[in-house]
C-alpha cells in the first residue's frame, strides 16, 4: 500500500512536471476571451516564464500574428520576465504571442502563449438627443421616440445604446435597448405618458473601452407633438370682401396640453405663405378672422398648434382649406390699346383691352364710349363673355378719336381708361435705338427715351407691343399682346409666353399725356418695331432650288424664300452645295440671307451636277431638296460660230469650185461632154440641101439618130467621103441601119423603109437616109483607130435644116429635145460648120438663157430632143 502510494505520488509529480514544462509561460494581462485595446494607445504585455521552465527571458520572442516584434520593443524585467509595448492600430486584431523557439536537436520543448488583441475605440457621446411623444387620440402616446447623433466614428467593437426614461421622484425607470449598430434612434415605452411631470431621458452608450451618456430633462410637454387643429373651416362673409373667418377645434384637451395656434394662408395662384403673427393667435381660441385680403380671390388656409409658450413641438400643418373672398367693385381700370391699320383713305382701328388687373370679381360687361373730333360718336355695352375683347371701327385719317372704357362686375364700376388716337399727320415722336436680347428665355427690350419733349407733352409711360408674324387668320386670342412699363424704365423684360421659333414684331410706344381743359389725354407716340425671336431654331425646311439657266460652264440657281412659319429664326446665310453626279465631292458657296439666286461658275461642260441649298439660322441649318442638272456641251454662240464657219466654208468651196469650173470649163467640158462629130462636116450634110426642109413628112417616119463621137473626129468629117459612096447601096438594099433599134433608143424603131414599105416609091426621092454613127469610143473610150461602124437611116427628112432654113432653127430646136446629148459640144468647133449651112443638132434648153446657150455656136451644136418623135418632112 505504501509503495503504491509513493508510485502514485511520483506519477502525479511527473505528470505535473511535464505539464508544467509544456505550459511554463504566461502573458499578463491574460483573458479567456479577447483583450480589447484602444486604438492609438500603447499596450504593454509581460511574458512570465514559470518556475522549472528550461528557458530564460533571453530566449523569449514576441510575435504579433505571424510577425515577429522588434527587439527594441522588449523590456527585460528579470530572468523570467520580459515585457513588450506595442502601439495599437485600428486594424490590429491579432494574437500577441510569447514564444521560445525550439532549437534543433535540442531536448527543450517549444513553449508558446498568446492573447488575442481586439482594437477599438471608446464610445462617443451621443449628440443632439431629442425625444418625441405624439398625440394618440385624445391622449399622449406612451412611446417616446428618441433620436440622437452617434457620431461618425466606428467603435470597431461591440457597442450598445440604451435609452432610459424616468420621472424624477419616482422609482420606476423605463429603458429600451437599441439593437442597431451605431443606433441613431430608439423607442422607449413609458406605459403611461407622465403628463404635467418632469421627464428625464438619457441615452447611454457602452462598450469595453468605456461609456458615455447624453441626458435630457424637461417638462413632459416638451416631448409632446400634438395633432394639428381639428375641423379647420374657412367661411366667407358677404359684407366683407376682404376677410375670411377661420374656425377650428382643439385637438387635445387643455387639461393635458394647452395649445396656441398658428395660421398661414396664401393665394391659390401663389406659393408664398403669409403667416398670421403668433401674438394674434396666442390665446386658447377656436376662431380667427383673416383681414386685409383681396376681394374675389381664392385663398388656401392651413393651421398648426403648439403647447402654450412653445412648451411642446409644433404639430404638423392641417390639411389645406380653400375658400374665396366675395366680390368688390373693380379697383383698377381696364387696359385699353389699339391697333391701327391704314387703308386707302381711312384707318381701320381695332380696339383691344384687358380686364382690370384688380377686377375684384367677375367682369360682366364693358362700356365703350368713342368720341370723334370731341363729339360723341358711339357707345356700346360689350359683354365680357367674348374670348376676344375687341372692337373695330373706321376712323378717317383726318379725324381724331378719344376712347373711354369702363368695366363692371356685380359690385360696381371700375375706374375709366382713356386712349386718344390722333390724326394721321399728328403723330408724336417715338423712342430711339430700340434693341432686344434674350435673357432666361425671355425677351429683354431696351430703348432710348426721346428727350426733350415738346410742350405740353409729358411722358406718361411706355407700352411694349408684340405681334406674332405671320398672324393667324382664325386666331381667337387678341391680335397683339402688350405691357406697360413706367416712364423711367428703358429696359424691361416681356412677361409674355412667347412661342419658341416664332417671329414676333416687338414695338415700343411712348405714351404721352397732355392736359386739355381739365381732362388728361393719353396718346401713343410713333412706334419703333423690330422683329425678334425668343428662341431660334433651325429652319423647318430647306429652300427648294431650281436651275433656271444651265450653260456650258455655269448654271443659274434660284430658290424661294422659306415661309416665315418655317424659318424659325433669322436666316443668316444660304450655303449652296454642288457636286458632280455621285462623286459626293461637294463644293459650297455661301451667300447672304437676301440672295435667292446664284450663278455657279467653273462647272465642267456636259456634266451632271447635283445641287442643294442649305438655309442657316444661328441655331442650325437645314438642307433643301436636291436638284440635278446637266451643263451644256457648247457654250453660248459656239454653235452659231460653227454653223457660220461651215456655211462660209461651204460657200467658199462652192465659189472656188465655180471659179475653177469657169476657168477650166474647156477641160471640164471635154471631160464631161466629149466633142460630138459635127454633122455639117459629114457627107450626109451635103445631102441636106437636096431635100426640102419643109416637106411634109409622115409623123411616123421619125427616127432617132444617135451619134457616137469618135475621138477627135466629127462624124461629118469622117464620113464625108464614105457616105456618098454608100448612098446607093443603102437605098437599094433597103437595109435599115436599125437606128430605131439601136441601143441608145428606149424602144426599137422600124426604119422608115421597114415600117412603110408601101410608100417606099413615093418617098424615095424625098427620103434622106440618116446614118447613125456607131462607135464604141463614145465618151472618149473608143480608140480612134477602130473603124467606125455606121448605121443608116433611110429617112427622107434631113437631120438638120438650120443651114438652109435658118428661120426654122428655133422651131427645130424646140422639137428636137431628144437630142440633149450634144448640148455641151464645143461651139468653137461646130459653129463654123453650122454657119456654113450644114445640118446642126440644136440643144433642148432654148428657155434657159445660160451663158453657154447665149453663144450662137453652142445652140447650133446641141442635139435637139425629138419631142414629137418626128419632124415634119
Amino acid at each position: 500500500m505504501g509503495s503504491s502510494h509513493h508510485l502514485l505520488v511520483f506519477l502525479m509529480f511527473l505528470h505535473y512536471a511535464v505539464g508544467f514544462t509544456n505550459n511554463c509561460v504566461k502573458i499578463l494581462p491574460d483573458s479567456s476571451s479577447s483583450i480589447v485595446v484602444e486604438v492609438g494607445k500603447n499596450f504593454t504585455a509581460t511574458c512570465h516564464l514559470l518556475e522549472g521552465c528550461a528557458y530564460t527571458s533571453d530566449d523569449i520572442e514576441w510575435r504579433l500574428g505571424n510577425d515577429s516584434i522588434a527587439k527594441q520593443s522588449y523590456h527585460r524585467i528579470n530572468e523570467t520576465s520580459v515585457s513588450v509595448t506595442i502601439n495599437i492600430s485600428s486594424d490590429m486584431n491579432a494574437w500577441l504571442k510569447c514564444t521560445a523557439p525550439k532549437e534543433s536537436l535540442s531536448y527543450k520543448p517549444k513553449i508558446i502563449y498568446g492573447i488575442f488583441l481586439r482594437a477599438g475605440y471608446p464610445p462617443l457621446k451621443p449628440k443632439n438627443l431629442s425625444c418625441i411623444a405624439v398625440q394618440e387620440d385624445k391622449d399622449i402616446s406612451p412611446n417616446l421616440n428618441c433620436s440622437w447623433d452617434p457620431g461618425s466614428r466606428n467603435p470597431l467593437i461591440d457597442t450598445t445604446y440604451t435609452v432610459y426614461a424616468n420621472v424624477p421622484g419616482t422609482v420606476l425607470t423605463h429603458k429600451a435597448d437599441c439593437k442597431q449598430h451605431l443606433a441613431r434612434f430608439c423607442v422607449v415605452n413609458l406605459e403611461t405618458f407622465p403628463i404635467h411631470m418632469v421627464l428625464k431621458v438619457w441615452v447611454e452608450v457602452k462598450n469595453a473601452l468605456g461609456s458615455e451618456r447624453s441626458e435630457l430633462q424637461s417638462d413632459s410637454t416638451y416631448f409632446v407633438k400634438p395633432n394639428p387643429p381639428l375641423n379647420v373651416q374657412v367661411l366667407t362673409e358677404d359684407k366683407f370682401p376682404t376677410s375670411l373667418m377661420v374656425t377650428w377645434k382643439h385637438p387635445i384637451d387643455r387639461t393635458i396640453l394647452k395649445l396656441s395656434y398658428a395660421i398661414r394662408y396664401r393665394k391659390v395662384t401663389s406659393n408664398v405663405w403669409i403667416e398670421v403673427p403668433e401674438s394674434f393667435t396666442r390665446g386658447y381660441i377656436e376662431s380667427f378672422r383673416l383681414q386685409s385680403l383681396e376681394p374675389y380671390t381664392q385663398y388656401v388656409v392651413q393651421m398648426r398648434c403648439i403647447g402654450e409658450s412653445n412648451s411642446s413641438y409644433w404639430s404638423n400643418w392641417s390639411p389645406s382649406v380653400t375658400e374665396s373672398t366675395t366680390e368688390a367693385k373693380p379697383a383698377s381700370a381696364p387696359d385699353l390699346w389699339r391697333i391701327i391699320q391704314p387703308t386707302s383713305n381711312s384707318r381701320n382701328v381695332t380696339l383691344i383691352w384687358k380686364a382690370p388687373v384688380k377686377a375684384n370679381g367677375k367682369i360682366r360687361f364693358y362700356n365703350l364710349s368713342i368720341n370723334q373730333n370731341n363729339e360723341k360718336f358711339e357707345s356700346h355695352n360689350i359683354t365680357a363673355d367674348n374670348l376676344s375683347q375687341m372692337y373695330s371701327m373706321e376712323l378717317p385719317a383726318g379725324k381724331m378719336a378719344s376712347i373711354e372704357i369702363t368695366a363692371y362686375n356685380s359690385a360696381g364700376e371700375s375706374p375709366k381708361a382713356t386712349l386718344s388716337i390722333p390724326r394721321s399727320d399728328k403723330e408724336f415722336p417715338g423712342v430711339k435705338d430700340m434693341s432686344w436680347s434674350v435673357r432666361d428665355e425671355k425677351l429683354q427690350v431696351k430703348w432710348t427715351a426721346v428727350l426733350p419733349l415738346p410742350h405740353p407733352l409729358k411722358l406718361s409711360e411706355y407700352l411694349l407691343e408684340w405681334v406674332k408674324i405671320p398672324q393667324s387668320v382664325h386666331q381667337k386670342e387678341l391680335p397683339a399682346g402688350w405691357q406697360r412699363v413706367p416712364k423711367n424704365v428703358t429696359v424691361t423684360t416681356l412677361n409674355a409666353d412667347l412661342e419658341k421659333f416664332k417671329r414676333y414684331n416687338i414695338s415700343v410706344y411712348p405714351i404721352y399725356k397732355y392736359q386739355s381743359g381739365h381732362v388728361w389725354h393719353f396718346q401713343p407716340g410713333r412706334p419703333v418695331t423690330r422683329p425678334a425671336y425668343v428662341q431660334q431654331g433651325p429652319p423647318k425646311e430647306g429652300p427648294t432650288v431650281t436651275v433656271t439657266k444651265s450653260k456650258k460652264n455655269s448654271a443659274e440657281l434660284t430658290w424661294e424664300e422659306i415661309p416665315l412659319d418655317s424659318q424659325q429664326g433669322f436666316i443668316i446665310h444660304y450655303t449652296i452645295f454642288y457636286a458632280i453626279g455621285n462623286t459626293k465631292q461637294w463644293k459650297s458657296e455661301t451667300v447672304g440671307p437676301n440672295v435667292h439666286s446664284y450663278v455657279l461658275t467653273d462647272l465642267a461642260s456636259e456634266t451632271d451636277y447635283v445641287v442643294y441649298v442649305m438655309a442657316s439660322t444661328e441655331a442650325g441649318s437645314v438642307k433643301g431638296t436636291d436638284c440635278t442638272f446637266k451643263t451644256m456641251k457648247y457654250g453660248d454662240g459656239e454653235v452659231e460660230v460653227i454653223v457660220v464657219v461651215v456655211c462660209l466654208s461651204f460657200l467658199f468651196l462652192t465659189v472656188f469650185i465655180i471659179m475653177i469650173c469657169l476657168r477650166k470649163r474647156e477641160v471640164i467640158k471635154k471631160l464631161l461632154w466629149p466633142q460630138v462629130p459635127d454633122p455639117s462636116d459629114s457627107s450626109i450634110a451635103h445631102w441636106s440641101p437636096d431635100f426640102p426642109i419643109k416637106a411634109d413628112l409622115p409623123k411616123e417616119d421619125v427616127s432617132v439618130v444617135e451619134v457616137d463621137v469618135f475621138d477627135g473626129k466629127s462624124l461629118c468629117e469622117e464620113d464625108k467621103g464614105v457616105l456618098p459612096l454608100k448612098k446607093d447601096k443603102y437605098l437599094s438594099e433597103e437595109h435599115s441601119s436599125g437606128i430605131g433599134g439601136s441601143s441608145c433608143m428606149s424602144s426599137p424603131r422600124h426604119s422608115v423603109s421597114d415600117s412603110d414599105e408601101g410608100d417606099s416609091g413615093q418617098t424615095t426621092s424625098s427620103t434622106v437616109q440618116y446614118s447613125t454613127v456607131l462607135g464604141s469610143g463614145y465618151k472618149g473610150q473608143t480608140p480612134s483607130h477602130q473603124p467606125p461602124a455606121f448605121a443608116r437611116s433611110e429617112s427622107t427628112q434631113p437631120l438638120l435644116d438650120c443651114e438652109e432654113h435658118p428661120d426654122h432653127l428655133n422651131e427645130s430646136q424646140s422639137r428636137s429635145s431628144y437630142f440633149r446629148r450634144g448640148r455641151e459640144l464645143e461651139p468653137g468647133v461646130l459653129a463654123p460648120e453650122c454657119d456654113g449651112g450644114s445640118l446642126t443638132f440644136c440643144p433642148v434648153q432654148e428657155e434657159e438663157p445660160s451663158p453657154v446657150a447665149e453663144e450662137p455656136p453652142a445652140s447650133a451644136l446641141c442635139y435637139m430632143p425629138q419631142k414629137s418623135g418626128y419632124r415634119p418632112q
Partner: protein, 215 residues
C-alpha cells in the same frame, strides 16, 4: 504629524460634508422639486390633479356603464376603502391630508385593476384606464409632496405605510364591482377636493410668499 493631522482633518471635514450633502440629496424624496419654480410646480400640479379628476369622472362613467351599476351602489358605505374627506385646519394640513389619502388609494386602485383584469377581457377599458390612473395618482402625489416641501420645509413629510387594503379576497363578483366603484367614486371626490385645495394655494399667493422667502 500634527500638521498632517490638521490637514487631514480639514480634508476629512470637507469630504464628509460633501458626502453628507450627496447622501441627503440622494435620499431626499423631493429632489425633483428643485427642477421647477414654485409657480410651475403649482400650475402643473393643479393641471394634473384637474386632469385626473376629470379622467376619474370619465372612468367612473365608463365603469358604471360597463358594470351596469347604479349610483346608489357606488355611494354605499365600505369601511376598508379610504375616505375622500380632506381634513386639517391649515392649508398645509389639508395638503398633507390629500397626500396621505392619495397614497392610501394606490393599493386599492391596484386591487380594483387586478379584479377588473380578472373579470373582463384584457382590452377592458376600465383596467387600462385604472392602470394609467395609478401612474398619474402617483405623479400627483409627487407633486403634492413638493408642495408640502414648500409649505412646510422644516417638517418631515410622513410617508404612509404601503399597507394592504384590508379587503377580503373572498369577494364575490358583485362585491368586487361594488368595491371598484366605491374606490373610484371616493378617488374622484378626493381629487376634486385636491383641486380645490390647490386652487386655494394658488389664490393664497403661496409661491409669492415662498419667492419672497427666498425659496
Amino acid at each position: 504629524m500634527v500638521c498632517l493631522s490638521q490637514r487631514s482633518q480639514a480634508k476629512f471635514r470637507m469630504i464628509l460634508a460633501i458626502l453628507i450633502l450627496i447622501a441627503v440629496e440622494l435620499v431626499h424624496p423631493t429632489v425633483s422639486c428643485k427642477n421647477e419654480t414654485c409657480s410651475q410646480l403649482l400650475r402643473h400640479s393643479l393641471r394634473l390633479t384637474r386632469l385626473m379628476s376629470k379622467r376619474t369622472t370619465e372612468l367612473l362613467e365608463t365603469y358604471k356603464t360597463s358594470q351596469d351599476f347604479a349610483d346608489l351602489i357606488c355611494d354605499m358605505q365600505m369601511d376598508n376603502v379610504p375616505v375622500s374627506t380632506v381634513s386639517g385646519q391649515t392649508i398645509s394640513q389639508r395638503i398633507l391630508s390629500v397626500y396621505t389619502h392619495l397614497k392610501e388609494f394606490l393599493p386599492h386602485m391596484k386591487t380594483v385593476m387586478e379584479q377588473q383584469k380578472d373579470l373582463n377581457p384584457p382590452t377592458n377599458p376600465v383596467a387600462e384606464g385604472l392602470n394609467r390612473m395609478i401612474t398619474h395618482v402617483r405623479h400627483i402625489a409627487v407633486r403634492v409632496n413638493c408642495i408640502l416641501e414648500i409649505l412646510q420645509p422644516n417638517i418631515p413629510i410622513p410617508e404612509p405605510a404601503e399597507s394592504p387594503t384590508g379587503i377580503p379576497h373572498a369577494q364575490n363578483i358583485f362585491q368586487q364591482k361594488a368595491y371598484g366603484c366605491i374606490v373610484l367614486t371616493r378617488l374622484q371626490e378626493l381629487l376634486s377636493q385636491a383641486v380645490q385645495e390647490q386652487k386655494s394655494l394658488k389664490k393664497g399667493k403661496m409661491c409669492r410668499k415662498s419667492t419672497k422667502n427666498g425659496s
